[in-house]
């Protein structure tokens, strides 16, 4: 439905977007994820029409958008600052896009009531934005952007101003709202947890380029490169060299740890001598005082270097024989006040050879 073809945009020497292409399907909840300065907001502004691309094309339903000013595009934005009009009531704010579309008074009243019910704030119609809480302002901003039923809704870090509890609640509401209205959402965030929780698909961006576009679970388990592995969730990244390998299995050497086997990445054929990295999620690592290696497991000894107690889990940073630090995670699910290890304790860790994912 929305096609972005080879779009580039520079500000002076700074390349904000470099040859970015992506396709967004109708009805999709699509997220642009990346650190600040990665170009995600620039891309959003291009779609909304607040900025023009240096080169490339943006098509909506097959028609180019570039010639249309923002007010003529069937695209609405939910701003990070909410941007509610302070001199208008909630109802007047929501009615604004309908007035601009020259809808009849009766139709406007009907739609405003309807959308206020959708966001579960029917009694706030006559309030001014200043009298609302952060979460309520957010819902009104979304209601205002949705009321005119745009083809595309752009959301620019809409939850970043809310506290953690409220953010989670709003995430669930957003998912349900998107399902209900069926409008395509393009969501911009730097919060990987939010992106994983909300999206159908995520485009991870870095330095003006797209690193990977995939579903959240694929992105998490099978990152295409070190940046994606590192940016999304916690990840151990072990530098290695390819020794030998076939379609199923690759033998790699990790400096100081020796030779281990890993499952091949079906996308990439590694030749012996190639540099690669094994990405390994902390929760995939077994950790105990002493372990018996299963047939297809790699096993190492080390000692606890640091630990972070997080309540539900404890993260242990294990120092291996060669000085490499590996993060492992244990659920604190044993009864009572158990404390499994202390800093300096000798432990063993093990992981299945298909637990990690090889990236170039």
């Amino acid at each position: 439905m929305l096609e972005i073809n080879a779009v580039s945009r520079s500000f002076g020497d700074f390349v904000a977007l470099n040859n970015v292409s992506l396709h967004i399907q109708a009805g999709e909840f699509f997220t642009l994820l990346g650190p600040s300065g990665c170009g995600k907001t620039t891309l959003l502004r291009l779609i909304a029409g607040f900025d023009q691309a240096d080169s490339g094309q943006i098509l909506l339903d097959g028609k180019p958008l570039c010639a249309l000013p923002p007010e003529k595009r069937p695209v609405h934005t939910v701003f990070q600052s909410y941007a509610l009009f302070p001199h208008m009531t909630v109802a007047e704010n929501i009615a604004f896009p309908l007035r601009m579309a020259k809808m009849s008074k009766a139709e406007i009243a009907h739609r405003v009531t309807e959308v206020l019910n959708d966001v579960r704030l029917p009694d706030k119609a006559k309030h001014y934005p200043d009298a609302l809480s952060g979460g309520q302002k957010q819902r009104i901003a979304i209601a205002r952007a949705l009321v005119n039923r745009p083809r595309l809704l752009l959301l620019d870090e809409p939850l970043s101003a809310l506290d953690a509890k409220l953010r989670e609640q709003m995430q669930i509401e957003l998912i349900n709202l998107q399902k209900e209205v069926g409008i395509t959402f393009v969501y911009v965030t730097h919060d990987q947890g939010e992106a994983l929780a909300l999206s159908h698909r995520i485009a991870v961006m870095n330095k003006g380029e797209i690193s990977q576009i995939d579903e959240p679970s694929v992105l998490y388990s099978y990152p295409d490169n070190r940046f994606v592995a590192d940016f999304i969730g916690q990840c151990n990244i072990l530098d290695a060299k390819v020794l030998s390998g076939n379609e199923q299995k690759v033998n790699i050497a990790i400096a100081g740890l020796g030779e281990i086997a890993a499952t091949a990445n079906p996308e990439i054929t590694f030749k012996s001598g190639d540099n690669c990295a094994l990405t390994l999620r902390p929760e995939k690592i077994r950790l105990a005082a002493s372990l018996e290696a299963e047939p297809d497991e790699a096993l190492f000894s080390g000692k606890v270097h640091d630990m972070l107690y997080l309540g539900d889990v404890t993260v242990y940073i294990i120092e291996l024989a060669n000085g490499v630090l590996i993060e492992a995670m244990l659920a604190n699910d044993a009864p009572g006040r158990t404390r499994l290890f202390d800093t300096g304790d000798a432990v063993q860790i093990a992981w299945r050879i298909d637990a990690g994912h090889l990236v170039p």
Binding site: A48, G49, F50, P69, P70, E71, K72, V75, H76, T77, F79, S81, A83, F85, P86, H87, F96, P97, M100, A101, Y128, P129, D130, R144, A145, N148
Partner: protein, 321 residues
Amino acid sequence: MRYRLPGASTPATWFHKPVQTLINRAERLRNNLMALPPGLYLLLFFAAPSLMMLFASFRYPGEYGGLAPWYYVEDEQFSLDFTLENWLRLFESSIYLGLLFKSLGYALLTTLICTLMAYPLALMIARSNKRFRDLLLLLVILPFWSNFLVRIYAWMIIFSPQGALTIGLNHVTAALGIEPISLMFSSTAVITCLVYVHLPFMILPLYANLEKHDSRLLDAAQDLGANRFQCFWLITWPQSLPGIYAGAILVFIPSLGIFAIPDLLGGTNGIMIGNVIKQQFVESRDWPFGSVLSLVLTGITLLLVLLAAKLGRTAGTDNGK
């Protein structure tokens, strides 16, 4: 605000209540004391002079200016000497009330023209690059660096019959076959100069207001389908109303009571109420009647300011401020 006392968390410490009461009282006293200096100022420089004027307005003028004594003693009999004459004189002929309305008209017109001229300028300064803003504001207040009267004399030169402006204009009128015009000593000259003198007082509060506007609101409005005109009329304009009211008060009040400009540029046609008041006190030596005129002017001004303040406040709450 209530202070948290040590031990306030433990229930009902015996000293808690009386101490809290003391603190509340001290706080109230402090708040009242804070209002004292401005109250004193108003009393000394507004209420007291006004009461003196009111007192004077019921007395007879002195023989050589000033006021006649407000009592006399005759045959050891003490009598007050007050009169309503001065107030009645206000209504005896239409001259004074007419002049008052004319002055109101001038001041209103000045305010209107100042608003129309100041708005685009203030908007331009507020939206210009931060680096140039201070310079542009400096240019706005630059005229204050030279004396008020000197600037009015400059306008006398501009408007004079031998001035380039008048000569140039009369070349045009001659070409069109209209009678030659004279700019000097006319209401046009008075209003032009009133606008010139008061323009910065409209620009500055308007700028202070516009500068605070959130430009992201305009992005949002455009995003939701508003064109440039609608963005201005529905978003910028309503939010700028408190700035306009503030500027209007600052322009309207001084231009209503001014006498120097009509004195120098108005001739007989451009005379305003301020001139008559000055005349009563200086040339006619009729202080009581001058007091009457002053009080009427002050009264009307106060009413209008209250009205503007009320409008400004409503617009202010609409703004959510």
